[in-house]
Symmetry: C2
Subunit: 453 residues, 2 copies
């Protein structure tokens, strides 16, 4: 409790008696409310008709939670003002959670150090007020610099085709890419399908997505230390699993879709590889697509569901249960199979407690996805796999769609709004809450024996 | 190692240098081979044409692993001899794994007692050769008594309708029910749909299924102690979760299907409730059905997939990851959410190690289901949910089918044969192997810090 209060003190909010989780949840809810009101205003729409309450709420939630699912097409429904509102919500939503989560991760890191007197591998800054301000500044400045560089490249690429609109598109999509938001302005739910074999756009957008999905704990560590052996365990694990998952995703998509005429079949070899890579990257929770996802094979779609569920790195703009969570669980299973008592990653022991937390996160996430999928398949008369895909896409803040979201009923929209919020704010809050938990049981019962399996 | 060897000694097999797992796997593989050869013989078939190798292998695997998925209809393809071969494979397969697993559970129980000096709640017999023989005798006699009683009730019910065939059907289906095998002789893949509102058949068959799915550790405990407070933790947990899951299954199926004209819609209230209850029971891995499962709503089918995956109790004829495994994981998650250090069930502490093992079992099971589902959706051109259902049905040895199994391609059949074997023999072996694991790591690395979620 002492440190939680300390953290609240840092934010000058202790007088209001909110826990950090409540601050986080309320902050996001407030931002969504503001966004909803703005998007309901007629001056945001090309046709002069503001969105209905539920559509505005859906769009604002999707933007703030950087999900990217849309009930109206961003490019054709919204005018410049509406589009600006959306990119603003994305930037605040993406930055907000990254900053909060990064700060809290450091607080938690400190807490572990103080309480359990472990030899910490990472050098943590003192969490003074000045430190918090400095770190927040670093995060904001780095975000703007990365988005500016990416945006400039895209603007240069699009200027010849689209003129001034091209420059606007460049920076707008750079923000949307780095924030893993997945919103686009190309109209008709086209996303980036027109640029399937454009090397510059593919590499720029994917680089922004990957950087956003690494999180600032990793970006700063790499920036400060440069050498692999100096990186923290967390950084090493995030980089390693990100590369593995990107490669695996590219390979499986390429293999399963190589002869599918509606997706990769008609593309050149360069196009096939670029498109497989792009779709693999986008699953880490960006939500853009360059080929038609709905035309993919069931096996590919199911594979994508798994990768979306895993998601990106913690304290990033990516969603899902996170690559670190998955790695810890795989390490735990591997250790048990090999008859070892402790799970190990890069020659570091993973505590039973951390495994326990990782498992809890996955268990609750799975339960949520299962329940929401059941509800949605009662509400919507669509094929099961499509519903599962859309639910996981919402939960993991990916935003890829097989076309269901634009045809949702009112109840369907409300369920999906809750899912998007739970998947972003709920999951990050849960992870933080779990990380802070160390209360001891007062009564310890004798150990019981149960047969499993 | 000492106790593993001791167990092998008990079985007089130590000279061959097989581990208990290998004995178990090889025994089942051998039984499947014998069954396959028999079912390929023309004298087993009504039309005088023995099954092809792959169909015979599929049927024998399904019988020995008490799965119940069939590529040819048992009632119309096989003659009396063929049907006898199948019920023999079911009885040996069902009894064999129950006996082996029960014995091993006791050995493991003893081992824990000796090694870790815990206060054991359960009174365990000394594992002398005489003790093993006595326990095995008890299991076999109890099985035959239960099957005889159930069979007699069914025979009396069917005799007026079917004459001598009715008596044969009574005992045959009693064995298939108690063994949770799900094979039936009613022809045309009809299962028990003709008896949807027949109270005697419904209650007799479901009682046999439930008893078989409790396992002898529970049946003997209840038989010997009679009172709830005298039951072992394992028994209490199995009974509690079985009742919860049966009630939940009945309720959800009733609610979701109540107005579906193809399933419960046209039935009387008694029929609706009986049918919901029967379908709930059958998911615990019997595989009979009294209404058309393929006509159920997607939400119901998905719900059934979850219940099938959970399955029944360990050391029973039921499949799945087992109710105890699921309960341990829920208790673990609940403890962490409430900020407690230890998971507790009925005022007994659950060791971190047991939670770890339960999680590993679920993780590997999920991975298998995901990979097989992906493979099957590449091989077969059926809807995703149907494939998922069929794969989980095979893995959890349920045997319910949405009709895919009878139209499988050669590759599909082979994948499903492997899945059935892995789901029964593999899973029980894995659970035993995990239970016996206590090796210590030689090097203990310093604890690492990773951010999850
Ligand atoms: K997204
Ligand atoms: K079965």
């Amino acid at each position: 409790m002492r440190l939680r209060n300390r953290f609240a003190n840092l934010l000058h909010l202790s007088a209001w008696k909110f826990t950090p989780y409540q601050i986080l949840a309320l902050g996001f809810a407030g931002l969504i409310m503001i966004g909803t009101l703005l998007l309901m205003m007629p001056i945001t729409a090309v046709n002069g008709q503001g969105l209905s309450l539920v559509d505005a709420l859906f769009t604002a939630t999707s933007a703030v939670c950087i999900t990217g699912l849309v009930v109206v097409d961003t490019g054709s429904h919204f005018n410049l003002f509406g589009q600006s509102v959306i990119i603003f919500l994305i930037q605040i939503g993406g930055l907000g959670i990254m900053t909060m989560a990064t700060l809290m991760a450091l607080v938690i890191g400190r807490k572990i150090q103080l309480r359990e007197r472990l030899v910490m591998q990472e050098a943590l800054n003192h969490m003074t007020v000045a430190g918090v301000v400095r770190l927040t500044q670093s995060i904001i400045i780095s975000t703007l610099v990365i988005e500016f560089i990416g945006g400039t490249i895209l603007a240069i690429r699009w200027y010849p085709d689209l003129g001034l609109t091209g420059i606007y598109f460049g920076y707008w999509h750079a923000v949307s890419s780095f924030c893993n938001a997945g919103f686009d302005l190309f109209g008709n739910f086209h996303s980036l399908t027109n640029y399937v074999d454009d090397t510059i756009i593919n590499l720029t957008v994917t680089s922004l997505i990957i950087l956003g999905g690494l999180g600032f704990t990793v970006i700063f560590d790499v920036w400060n230390h440069r050498k692999w052996q100096d990186f923290s365990l967390h950084t090493k694990l995030v980089l390693f699993t990100t590369i593995i998952l990107l490669a695996l995703g590219t390979l499986v998509i390429l293999l399963l879709e190589i002869n599918n005429p509606a997706t990769l079949g008609t593309l050149s070899w360069k196009g096939k590889i670029l498109a497989s890579y792009f779709q693999s990257v986008t699953l880490r929770s960006a939500g853009y697509n360059t080929v038609s996802v709905v035309d993919m094979q069931d096996a590919t779609i199911f594979f994508m569901v798994i990768l979306m569920f895993i998601g990106a790195a913690p304290t990033s703009t990516g969603g899902g249960i996170k690559v670190t969570t998955m790695s810890i669980l795989i390490a735990a299973v591997w250790a048990l199979i090999r008859g070892k008592n402790d799970a190990e990653i890069f020659q570091r022991r993973i505590s039973q407690r951390l495994i326990y937390k990782a498992f809890t996160l996955v268990f609750l996430s799975t339960a949520l996805v299962v329940i929401v999928t059941m509800m949605m398949s009662i509400i919507q008369s669509e094929s099961f796999l499509k519903i599962l895909f859309e639910v996981v896409s919402a939960f993991a803040t990916v935003g890829l769609s097989l076309g269901i979201t634009s045809t949702l009923t009112m109840q369907g929209k409300i369920v999906m709004i809750i899912t998007m919020f739970a998947g972003r704010v709920g999951l990050v809050t849960l992870a933080l809450a779990l990380a802070l938990r160390t209360k001891r049981a007062k009564v310890q019962y004798p150990e019981g024996k149960i047969i499993i399996g």
